[in-house]
């Protein structure tokens, strides 16, 4: 069970964001991640633990060696945060729809301007 707070806390660290950035391109072994990011194995291990607990990444053993873990991203925590942002958007969508309904109900319509038709050619500035 993870929460948005866990996700946000997990992603508040630049190294962990770099881990995610790397995993966007596909699953990686822990050793590959450490080498790619230039961090020590113990440090990376701590970061991966935070990310696992937050449900941001999951790890699996490779078929031929149970000691080697392959990490990959879990999409759901990102979908949760995205959904949160969508609420802000939905708020303004609702408000503007209400604004439009009120404005068009109570105000005179815009005069349809006889906009000068742009001639296909021959127009002169």
């Amino acid at each position: 069970m993870t929460t948005l707070d866990d996700t946000l806390a997990a992603l508040a660290d630049p190294t962990r964001r770099a881990v995610i950035d790397t995993l966007r391109r596909g699953p990686r072994r822990a050793g590959e991640l450490a080498a790619h990011l230039g961090v020590s194995a113990p440090a990376l291990s701590r970061h991966l633990r935070v990310l696992r607990r937050a449900g941001v990444v999951t790890d699996d053993a490779v078929a031929d060696d149970a000691r080697v873990r392959v990490y990959r991203l879990e999409p759901q925590p990102f979908a949760d945060v995205r959904g949160w942002l969508d609420e802000v958007e939905a708020f303004w969508v609702d408000q503007l729809a209400a604004f439009k309904a009120h404005a068009e109900r109570t105000a005179a319509p815009a005069p349809h301007r006889a906009a000068p038709r742009r001639r296909p050619r021959g127009g002169r500035a």
Binding site: R24, A79, R82, F91, V93, Q95, A98, F99, K100, H112
Partner: protein, 169 residues
């Protein structure tokens, strides 16, 4: 209507069949009449009250309502740009924002052949700390702001594709 978040901002656009001058006036002077009611839209919730701009530069956007604790006045923000009939901007603070945490709403009224195109952009989430405790829609956007483009790049493909080749089960 079009809508979409981009980086640290949420932007929503709608076409309204009234002239820009009317759109601006209705937006700023009849706010109480069109602003939705209920806990999702007002601090007053369903309680009777008013929500209004003081229609001038430096004016406030505030709510006034009765509660069990008596009369409440909540200032949502103050007007930072007052340029009728084309532009309006005001600060926006949720009740649970800490001092110094402030976002801004910019509203543009652009004339079109049929009337007005109104665009609301709610931005400035970078001022909000990433671990904002509020379970509030705005906090998520704040977090997105802190991560900037990196975050946007990450979210779009995730949302577009969902679980797929990148997330083998």
């Amino acid at each position: 209507m079009t809508a979409g978040p981009a980086d640290d901002r949420v932007r929503v656009t709608i076409a309204v069949d009234v002239p820009v001058e009317v759109a601006f006036d209705v937006f700023t002077r009849e706010t109480e009449l069109w602003w939705r009611r209920g806990p999702r839209y007002r601090n007053a919730g369903d309680a009777p009250g008013t929500l209004a701009f003081e229609p001038r530069a430096g004016g406030r956007l505030f709510e006034e309502y009765a509660s069990a604790a008596g009369r409440q006045v909540h200032v949502i923000g103050t007007i930072t740009t007052w340029a009728p009939p084309h532009r309006l901007a005001f600060t926006w603070r949720a009740r649970n924002f800490a001092p110094g945490e402030v976002t801004e709403v910019a509203v543009e009224f652009a004339p079109t052949r049929r009337g007005t195109r109104v665009t609301v952009e709610h931005r400035g989430w970078a001022t909000i700390r990433a671990d904002h405790p509020a379970r509030h829609g705005q906090a998520a956007a704040a977090f997105l702001a802190n991560l900037g483009r990196w975050w946007g790049d990450l979210l779009r493909p995730l949302q577009d594709r969902g679980p797929g080749p990148h997330f083998p089960k």
